[in-house]
């Protein structure tokens, strides 16, 4: 079982990210869960969402406290939340930032595999709004191969309909442009 924790701010689509990831895994006939951190929703407040993916039925209903992967959708979150909390040593942290891995490691004491992508810029250019949920999934999938890229694109298409084009472009650009730092 792979467990993923998403950090973002209310309104950025952390929950949607988790849902799309789970739906892509389920579309592949695997098992998955996605759920929010169950708080009152407030735009701009730090929020957490979770996903689990497995090849057999998932029998656990607790929050993810020891994630294998962490996604940080908003660069400013790093200053207020310890996003590495409970992250496995072999885990991957995917961060939306214009800074490179070395700078982030120094600034926030980040260990393990670190993936950086300037999702704010990509989202602004491709979607026209700084909503980074689909963009960040591109970097996550590139770094982890968690789900099939085509199936994930299909989920984005289903979810966003008419406005899916920009999201898919942003997803693909992040896939290509993210930098993986071992």
């Amino acid at each position: 079982m792979v467990e993923i924790r998403f950090h973002g701010r209310g309104g950025q689509g952390a929950v949607t990210s988790a849902e799309l990831l789970a739906q892509a895994a389920i579309a592949q006939d695997r098992y998955a869960q996605a759920f929010p951190s169950f708080g009152p929703e407030r735009r701009g407040a730090p929020v957490v969402a979770f996903a689990r993916i497995d090849n057999k039925p998932i029998r656990v209903r607790t929050v993810v406290s020891k994630p294998d992967n962490v996604i940080v959708l908003d660069p400013s979150i790093l200053r207020i939340v310890n996003t590495s909390l409970g992250l496995a040593e072999s885990g991957v942290q995917v961060v939306n930032s214009s800074k490179n891995a070395a700078t982030l490691r120094k600034e926030f004491d980040l260990k393990g595999k670190l993936v950086t992508v300037n999702a704010n810029r990509i989202a602004a250019e491709e979607i026209g709004r700084v909503i980074t949920n689909t963009t960040m999934l591109g970097a996550l999938v590139k770094a982890t191969g968690l789900v099939d890229v085509d199936l994930l694109v299909e989920q984005i298409q289903n979810r966003f309909g008419r406005i899916a084009g920009g999201n898919i472009k942003a997803f693909k650009r992040a896939f290509d442009e993210c930098v993986i730092d071992e």
Binding site: Y31, A32, A34, F35, F38, R59, V60, R61, T62
Partner: protein, 397 residues
């Protein structure tokens, strides 16, 4: 076979209700409401379901409207949670006493104060005595399947009672997981059109809900008691029929790895899945533990339960609610009551956990197991304990 989809559990429940071709949905549309009726309102607005959607000003009004539509002979569905269920309280008795087969889904959540929107069983456990059939789902698939079965059970001419389907708030209601969606044609085969035995009809007038003088009230209560006890047979038949048609067999009491288990954990609802994984882990470590969970809560399937716990040396009950100043957790109370006369009398440890949305994880099950083992070793343990409380339940009070 329905389509297997990654879908939020609340949405799957709404789709299941739509597949039941319900005639009427009366619901309060604001917090603590779930996506269940929100999605149903969309389905109705889109013209995908020919039903009357009545948004009302409170849950008290919601249940009152449900009584009205069910009395008129309409297949009636609603959903609520937490304070909403509490606000319905007095009308719940009326629905069951008038024998109106309403189906209500409850996303189990805590009651204030302090204000808390999260999952536990304090809402449902304070509605134990309202005379409804009550069934607990463990996951999203069960919740959706049970909606369909609930309509069939409630409308059975031998039953004619309202049915509550419980599913845990947030840890089920807001989770996306794979669910096999129920095909409308398949559901139609399983659930024929509702034919009320009696209804409000101007051509054949009757009075529902008249005054019941002291000379009649006792008999009326006895009739309701007989009805819910007799519903057990039709409930099992419905489970079997559903199993045959849809390939998912339901039982009033479920067991997991109980053969040769010495300590059995007793749970209800969504934490049962976590408990199964915990049993796997403990078994791998050589501990003889098993899990028993109630799916059916009213009528209480006590004979099935007794069969399920055969061979156990001790039980550890996890309750998600307790009676302040009273005898502990409701599930444990009922088990103890029912096992009192049985020999040998096995020890039962009562653990209250998961209040107001606190996670129930392996550590908590370990603690429950530890208490059970302590009792088996002859140690004294508190009669019941809020096992997650900081400061200790039995410190200075």
């Amino acid at each position: 076979m329905g389509e297997r989809k990654g879908v939020e559990v609340s949405i799957a429940i709404a789709e299941a209700a739509a597949a039941c071709d319900v005639d009427c949905i009366a619901a309060y549309p604001i917090t603590p409401q779930t996506h269940v009726v929100e999605h149903l309102s969309e389905i109705v607005a889109e013209g995908e379901l020919d039903a009357e959607f009545i948004p009302v000003e409170s849950e008290h009004a919601a249940m009152s409207a449900c009584c009205g539509t069910a009395a008129a002979g309409a297949r009636t569905f609603t959903a609520t949670a937490s304070q909403g269920l509490a606000l319905m309280h007095e009308v719940l008795f009326i629905a069951s006493s008038l024998r109106l087969p309403i189906v209500m889904v409850v996303a189990n959540r805590a009651l204030s104060a302090p204000i808390n929107i999260w999952n536990d069983h304090s809402d449902v456990m304070t509605e134990r005595d309202v005379g409804w059939v009550q069934i607990f789902a463990e996951n999203g698939q069960e919740a959706a399947d049970l909606v369909v079965q609930a309509h069939k059970i409630g409308e059975d001419k031998r039953v004619l009672l309202p049915v509550m389907v419980h599913f845990d708030g947030f840890i089920l209601s807001h989770v996306i997981e794979p669910i096999e969606m129920l095909d409308r044609d398949e559901v139609k085969k399983f659930l024929p059109d509702y034919e009320p035995q009696q209804r409000l009809d101007v051509d054949n007038p009757i009075t529902m809900g008249p005054v019941g003088m002291p000379t009649v009230y006792t008999e009326s209560k006895m009739a309701a008691e007989a009805a819910i006890r007799r519903s057990y047979g039709p409930i099992l038949e419905t489970f079997d029929e559903f199993g045959k048609q849809f390939g998912r067999q339901y039982k009033p009491v479920e067991t997991y790895k109980t053969e040769d288990a010495e300590v059995m954990l007793i749970t209800m609802g969504g934490i049962s899945e976590t408990a199964m994984s915990w049993v796997d882990e403990r078994r791998a470590a050589g501990e003889k533990v098993g899990l028993v969970r109630f799916r059916l809560w009213r009528p209480l399937p006590i004979e099935e339960f007794k069969k399920a716990i055969k061979g156990a040396k001790a039980l550890a009950v996890i309750d998600r609610h307790f009676s302040p100043g009273g005898p502990g957790g409701p599930v444990a109370q009922e088990i103890k009551y029912n096992l009192y006369e049985d020999e040998p009398r096995i020890p039962i440890v009562e653990c209250v956990a998961g209040l107001g949305g606190r996670d129930v994880d392996f550590n908590d099950f370990d603690k429950a197991l530890g208490k059970a083992k302590a009792v088996l070793n002859g140690e004294q343990v508190p009669p019941f304990e809020l096992i997650q409380v900081r400061g200790g339940h039995h410190g200075e009070i």
